[in-house]
């Protein structure tokens, strides 16, 4: 202390000296190790988010196990089968020679879907078809959360092990978006476990409203259609079969309605929930031209093919929502958006067709919690 006092000078303030030393040390440390300090802060941030991702992944797994035990009443312990399900993967077909890739992809997706349904049926033998679809959706959401967790952990550890700062920096910068998707899946897990409608169900909800009180028939895999009158036009309304979690195969269903059943609609109107831009309001409605359908592209391809073959104009109505809202429980604004979308569909029908024409309306999306 006397030495420090001596350094501070006669009448000098010791604390002032300590603070000056501290600031000088801080500036030197930041100058020499600034990047490492920055990386350490980023790594800490990634670790914290990884812990949260692990928590979300584990919670989704627990929810799935609980739902399977409650609904499926399996005789054996379902945990090993669920853990195996959560590690399954899908390999896309080779695209070096893209000719014919759509059908290869379509076939692979069918196989994947069938094997997943089989796996869920084995895990939950007592579940009804609706519950089976919900459980499949729930397990898929848990699988996606598991995948997100594993990918983030992989890049975090790789960045740390190889000292590749660029990987850590990129991962850290992407984290807010990744966490946003993870939280969306977390919301979806709850919705799927309970069978609540999700934002992506806007299209099927519109179809359900148009089909209120009408008879519906099953067509194609997990798809139903019904007939009604709208603005003096004869209308065929198509949707995935609910209320289990299901997107169906709208492309195949439209193909079948036109090619096999012989319907010749004057126009096809597709209604789907679509990604809004930041700053836009959830539930806003817009219309345009083309096939309004997401996914990997095989169904869109089929719809475009059949519309082109028969020269049927394709119109699209979208209900705007974010990716997060699309897989979280459906918001009130989206319900209001569906009512606005019905008015837009009516307007399109009035403008583009004559009275007595046949119109095909397809409500695209996951129909969980929405029957017909």
């Amino acid at each position: 202390m006397p030495f420090l006092q001596h350094l501070a000078g006669e009448g000098g303030n010791l604390w002032s000296l300590v603070f000056q030393l501290f600031f000088i040390a801080f500036i030197i440390a930041y100058f020499l190790y600034g990047q490492r300090i920055q990386i350490a802060i980023w790594n800490r941030d990634i670790e914290r988010n990884l812990r949260r991702l692990k928590f979300l992944r584990d919670r989704a797994r627990e929810t799935a196990i609980k739902a399977v035990k409650e609904i499926g009443k399996p005789e054996e312990d379902p945990v090993p089968s669920i853990d195996r399900f959560l590690e399954t993967f899908f390999i896309q077909p080779v695209d070096m020679d893209p000719a014919g890739i759509v059908w290869k992809l379509d076939r692979l997706l069918d196989v994947r879907d069938l094997s997943m349904k089989d796996a869920v049926r084995r895990i939950a033998p007592k579940a009804s078809d609706t519950e089976l679809n919900n459980l499949e959706n729930l397990l898929e959401a848990a699988l996606d959360l598991n995948l997100i967790y594993r990918i983030v952990r992989h890049y975090y550890l790789m960045g740390k092990r190889t000292n590749a700062y660029i990987i850590t920096a990129q991962l850290h910068m992407m984290l807010p978006l990744i966490m946003d998707i993870a939280y969306a899946y977390d919301g979806a897990v709850k919705a799927f476990a309970e069978g609540q409608p999700i934002g992506d169900g806007a299209g099927p909800l519109l179809a359900c409203k148009l089909l209120a009180g009408k008879k519906v028939e099953k067509i194609e895999k997990d798809m139903v259609f019904g007939e009604t009158e709208l603005e003096g036009r004869h209308v065929i309304v198509l949707k995935a079969e609910g209320p289990g979690g299901n997107v169906g195969k709208p492309g195949e269903a439209i193909e079948k309605l036109i090619d096999t059943y012989g319907y010749r609609p004057a126009i096809i109107v597709m209604v789907d929930a679509a990604q809004k831009f930041e700053g836009e309001d959830t539930g806003d409605v817009a219309d345009g031209v083309g096939a309004a359908i997401g996914g990997i592209g095989t169904e869109k391809y089929r719809i475009e093919e059949v519309a082109h073959k028969h020269k049927i104009p394709l119109y699209a109505v979208i209900i705007k929502e974010s990716l997060r809202e699309a897989i979280a429980p459906m918001k009130k604004e989206i319900y209001e958006g569906v009512d606005k979308a019905i008015e837009t569909v009516k307007k399109i029908i009035r403008e583009k067709t004559r009275e007595g024409d046949l119109v095909l309306i397809a409500g695209i999306g996951n129909t969980i919690g929405i029957a017909q």
């Binding site: 603070f19 000056q20 949260r52 977390d186 069978g195 409608p197 429980p329 319900y335 029957a371």
Partner: protein, 127 residues
């Protein structure tokens, strides 16, 4: 802790720091010493250190979890359009028929299932 309360806590801490700083400056003893350059730089140093600490705490604080929401089921009467709202039960779906209308004995059906709205509405964008 909700997002808002965490955000408010940060501002509260900052305000507290400024108040402490002003209090130190405002005390007669401090005013006497204010003439001394060293005292002023020490006080400024403490303030700077506390600010660094505050920002560091904010940096390492836990990311906020999304708020929990109740899911509501809206029932509507087919005949008189009366609506009623209750909490969601497993097995609810749109447009499940459920019970009779309390006012006209018409059939009630589930019209909507959505999460209850929490918190403040977002301000409209100025651009």
């Amino acid at each position: 802790m909700s997002v808002n309360s965490r955000h408010n806590l940060g501002w509260l801490l900052l305000l507290l720091l400024i108040l402490v700083f002003l209090f130190v400056l405002g005390s007669p003893e401090a005013l006497e010493k204010l003439g001394e350059e060293r005292f002023f730089s020490t006080a400024l140093g403490i303030f700077g250190l506390l600010l660094i600490l505050l920002f560091f705490l904010k940096l390492v604080s836990q990311p906020s979890a999304p708020p929990k929401q109740r899911i509501l089921t809206v029932l509507r009467c087919e005949r008189c359009d009366v609506t009623s709202v209750r909490e969601f039960k497993r097995g609810d779906y749109i447009p499940k028929r459920e019970g009779k209308c309390p006012s006209c004995e018409g059939e009630m059906y589930i019209e909507a299932i959505y999460p209850e709205e929490l918190g403040k509405k977002k301000k409209p964008l100025p651009f």
